[in-house]
């Protein structure tokens, strides 16, 4: 069935079709309509689940942890400051190896208050042990939420999954989305599966004092799980492709085969970059695009291009020019980095064409501020 709806409503629909048993969420712009829609589904009886209308995002993640540890599928959604308030529990969920799935609608961090797209919120969570997706269309939001549960609950993974997309650019923009039948989704998602659970007939204690040697083992098991995730993400994506006709991969390539420079970008900027590639090709330039869809685990081995132009919508200040993905990929070739679009500053295909042409001349930096 084709529907036309906003990214947030599609995210809520996908979450509903994944049949979570417990949802705990707190509203925050621009995620709010995800929460509103889910509350509506539950109150209308269209989704048979418990919806905990928590008093903060810290509590939202804590409630998901409690529910997941008791043995049921959970869902939450947040953005920006909500994600930051959650930060402690985000670490907790990963260390507890609970397969929670969360939507994060990328939004800038204050002050001043800025509700527009910026990835510093989720990029700041990149070391928490969550699998991180950055998606580029409403269709991909739907597909990735469904895939996320399969990945998170896979016995070789057992790590939580965060699916991020741009505030407003996707969250509030309507697009056509192909929504599969519920039965088809049901047959793709298995029964909820977790590594451990709280059960009074088999009492266990989780999370008490742990000594350094054991702690190191726990961390190493997470490392292995994250390594496994690379393969599982691809397997799940492939199986999804066979069943639903769409798959995306870890990195989505566009005209990279003969490219002189490959643009590396995520999310909405990557969609815009696709247009820029066509424009550049028309101008006779051999431009290509590698859209980074999965940021954790980072698919380093996929980046085998001679020259790359990385566009970051998030910064780690004090780390070179600040671009996070730029810094991560710097070792893999001749890489030019642009920081662009912070706080929702518009980045359209013309800007990306300009960045490409600047990189050709050896220029890089903060686009629209430092270099123009």
């Amino acid at each position: 069935m084709k529907v036309i709806d906003t990214g947030n409503h599609i995210a809520a629909l996908a979450a509903k079709m994944a049949r979570p048993e417990v949802i705990a969420a707190y509203p925050i712009t621009p995620q709010t309509t995800v929460v509103e829609r889910l509350a509506q589904y539950v109150e209308r009886g269209e989704l048979d689940a418990e919806f905990i209308r928590v008093e903060s995002e810290h509590s939202a993640m804590a409630a998901c942890i409690g529910a997941s540890a008791t043995g049921v599928r959970t869902f939450t959604a947040t953005a920006s400051h909500g994600l930051l308030l959650m930060h402690e529990m985000i670490h907790w969920a990963a260390l507890a190896r609970l397969p929670i799935v969360m939507i994060n609608v990328n939004r800038a961090i204050g002050p001043g208050w800025n509700i527009w797209s910026d990835m510093n919120d989720s990029m700041a969570q990149r070391d928490t042990g969550w699998i991180q997706f950055y998606v580029s269309s409403n269709q991909e939001i739907f597909d990735t939420v469904i895939q996320a549960y399969r990945i998170a609950e896979h016995e070789d993974v057992m790590l939580p999954v965060m699916v991020s997309y741009d505030g407003f650019i996707l969250s509030h923009t309507s697009m056509a989305v192909d929504v599969p039948e519920q039965e088809k989704v049901d047959s793709f998602l298995h029964e909820f599966n977790s590594m451990w659970k709280l059960d009074s007939s088999h009492p266990i204690t989780h999370g008490n004092i742990i000594m350094p040697d054991d702690y190191m083992e726990v961390r190493y098991s997470m490392k292995k799980a994250m390594d496994n995730a690379m393969k599982i993400i691809e397997e799940v994506d492939e199986e999804y492709g066979k069943k639903f006709g769409r798959s995306y991969g870890l990195v989505e390539e566009y005209k990279t085969e003969d490219a002189d420079y490959v643009i590396v970008a995520t999310s909405a900027i990557a969609s815009e970059a696709r247009v820029a590639i066509d424009v550049l090709r028309e101008k006779g330039k051999k431009a290509g695009l590698a859209r980074l869809r999965v940021h954790r685990p980072m698919p380093f081995s996929r980046f085998n291009y001679d020259k790359m132009i990385v566009i970051d919508r998030a910064v780690s200040l004090g780390l070179g020019n600040g671009g996070i993905i730029y810094n991560e990929l710097k070792s893999r070739g001749d890489v030019y980095g642009f920081v662009a679009g912070l706080g929702g500053k518009d980045v359209n295909y013309k800007d990306i064409v300009k960045m490409y042409e600047m990189a050709e001349k050896g220029k890089e930096g903060w686009y629209g501020v430092e270099v123009d």
Partner: protein, 297 residues
């Protein structure tokens, strides 16, 4: 009325735990679990109880335990409760938190869970300070008490969390003490049979924190009640009834002098006559109010 002699023989706090000698936590939890039974899930935030369980991969608590971040116990319990409901299980989620995790850092999550009428029991064992980090002031630390963040004595009075909790209009609120285990047991039993949010606060004197000998824990807890410094009551659907020894005080029995209680604790060693007068006046005021409001029959 329950009697200690008749408590169930089952033990859910096992030998080999890591509590200090004279610790009130194990007394409280042992009794609470005897009343509640083992069809519970304990949710324990950062606190001494996280240490008392002992080290991974062992545990001394023979019921399921979810350790959780300091500010998160009531919200994690909300998630546990929701999941248990989905699974159709009768297991009771029981938060087991200290006063730091309840009065201070966890009060937002607690208030939220109470207002949402989550189906769980919240137990605050109140030792009037942050004991796990090594004796720092909390919102429950009484006026004048020495802690490592109030070297010359706390300058402010404690707040009354049970009264704040009562403002949420929940089915059951009770205060208890590790010196009156029959009373504590009865209250846990009552809470077990109810639905919705239930709150029980247990007065728990800490030997190293309050600077008294480990053999005196129960004695000091008892004196706190007998001097009227700590009060035992319960509120079913908002209706307050004093219980045990506090009920006798309400009916007119004379309170023991507060100096007797203060003198037993090193944390009050530096108090001036002025300080003691202030503490005395506060207790007198409190009881004057109780007499007016609750001594109606």
């Amino acid at each position: 009325m329950a009697s200690i002699k008749n408590f169930p023989k089952e033990e859910y706090v096992l030998k080999g735990h890591a509590a200090c000698p004279g610790c009130p936590i194990t007394i409280a939890l042992r009794t609470a679990l005897k009343a509640l039974g083992n069809d519970v899930t304990l949710i324990v935030p950062a606190s001494c109880s996280a240490v008392v369980q002992s080290l991974v991969p062992k545990t001394s608590f023979n019921v399921p335990v979810l350790n959780i971040a300091f500010a998160a116990s009531a919200s994690a319990a909300s998630g546990v409760a929701a999941a248990l409901k989905r699974l159709g299980k009768k297991t009771i989620p029981v938060v087991w938190a200290g006063d730091g995790g309840s009065y201070d850092i966890g009060i937002q999550a607690l208030s939220g869970a109470l207002e949402r009428r989550e189906d769980f029991i919240y137990v605050c064992y109140n030792n009037q300070m942050y004991s796990n980090t090594g004796i720092q002031r909390s919102g429950a630390t009484p006026y004048g008490a020495w802690t490592t963040t109030t070297w010359t004595g706390k300058k402010e009075m404690q707040k009354e969390l049970a009264e704040i909790v009562m403002a949420h209009h929940i089915p059951y609120v009770a205060t208890a003490s590790i010196a009156y285990l029959d009373d504590l047991y009865e209250k846990m039993k009552k809470a077990k049979e109810m639905e919705g949010p239930r709150y029980i606060e247990i007065f728990s004197p800490c030997p190293p924190g309050w600077r008294f000998d480990m053999s005196k824990t129960v004695e000091i807890a008892r004196l706190a009640v007998q001097t009227g410094s700590w009060v035992l009551y319960e509120a079913i659907n908002g209706k307050i009834e004093f219980t045990s020894y506090s009920k006798m005080l309400l009916k007119g029995r004379e309170r023991k002098p507060i100096e007797d209680w203060l003198r037993m604790q090193g944390r009050f060693r530096h108090l001036t006559e002025e300080d003691i007068k202030r503490i005395k006046e506060a207790i007198d005021e409190k009881w004057k109010y109780y007499m007016q409001i609750y001594n109606k029959d």
